[in-house]
Symmetry: C2
Subunit: 224 residues, 2 copies
């Protein structure tokens, strides 16, 4: 049997690229997307397009209403910051409390059932917008937890959390994905799209994406 990986697929370009790296490395992909009440729910359509393009073995979308907790501009009516200094040290209001912990936990549950030995997440530490749960030490701590949390772990089959973009800049991610033949026109990055779905161009996510394409010397196919 080929090795299986559960891949968190948001519909953005990072998770698409991370999934493509796992596919290149020989994994069968099981893609998981979460409808968490995000204001940019349009990214879930992108996740479905990306999953199809990757030829995943299965794609599940799970509903989990994180708006019940609030605490983020992505899950409430609080405005998304526009043209914020991207090198600010503070954690921005677009941070969703414990999001990656929750998403990795859900991946872990599915991985246990599938007997998958790897979770794939597209976090990156360089352009990570200041979110605590995108740091290398967070990923390592989750891997340690997973070894203790599961039946497979108890039986000695430790699960690996693969974050192949962890130390890459946005430009390096785009260059890598382009070399793998990815079509970034399928993706969606904007936190606060216009009613017709166009990127706002002013949120952190739009601006990190634009800077990444510019630094990679490539045009963003979404803006053609």
């Amino acid at each position: 049997m080929r090795r299986r990986a559960v891949v968190l697929l948001s519909g953005g370009l990072d998770s698409y690229t991370a999934a493509a790296v796992a596919a290149r490395d020989g994994f069968d992909l099981y893609a998981l997307s979460i409808d968490y009440g995000q204001r940019h729910a349009r990214e879930l359509d992108a996740a479905a397009r990306v999953a199809a393009a990757l030829g995943v073995a299965r794609h599940i979308q799970i509903a989990l209403d994180l708006t019940r907790f609030g605490g983020s501009a992505l899950t409430s009516d609080s405005p998304v910051p526009r043209d914020r200094a991207l090198d600010a040290a503070d954690i921005p209001i677009t941070y969703v409390p414990a999001r990656n912990t929750i998403f990795l936990s859900l991946s872990l549950a599915w991985a246990e059932v599938l007997e998958a030995d790897t979770l794939v997440i597209g976090v990156n530490a360089l352009d990570y917008s200041g979110y605590p749960d995108c740091r290398p030490e967070f990923i390592e701590a989750f891997e340690r937890l997973a070894a203790l949390a599961t039946k497979a772990g108890v039986e000695g089959h430790a699960l690996k959390v693969s974050a192949p973009l962890l130390h890459l800049s946005k430009a390096a991610i785009i260059t890598l994905g382009t070399s793998l033949g990815l079509d970034y026109a399928l993706t969606h990055s904007c936190y606060d799209p216009t009613p017709d779905g166009s990127p706002c161009g002013h949120c952190d996510s739009c601006r990190l994406r634009a800077a990444g394409f510019a630094d990679a010397g490539l045009p963003d196919p979404l803006l053609r």
Copy 2:
């Protein structure tokens, strides 16, 4: 401001007792229950009764359909084992993959928004039915993860995972709760209740409960 604790409340007697210990220790309680597609969804009614009896500041019930992943008799049509040897070394089919990891992650999200400094979970290691995510080392690993996963952690306010029943037997839990004045008639434990909601008397959960009341020398008010 009084200290706040987010308490996972299943409707069973363990989480009720753990919550009562936190209330005794001076915390304001924020109770979280998860409708995860469990076959014994009746426990959610018990969770609401228990939350009211505890006088919690708030009770949220979140829907998260873990039947999508399958892999457990509690979230599928697989039969719940009857009269299983409770000292068997294997992990039983009622184990729900990664359940406590997921539930603690959700508590963590809410705790971050509430600025609560403690998560309370009613796991216990002696009568734990062989579930890996009820062990002390799992709880410690989650606490380490939480310190890295959150804004509060980054700012130096580590969050504590309180598992006050961790080393207690079921009988000791029942004795403790009784001393705190708890009414266990409000709770529900059975994994596989009859259509009218009566406990089956044969699943692990019923049998651990019965043995606990017997060892405590107390009658189970549910069976009166």
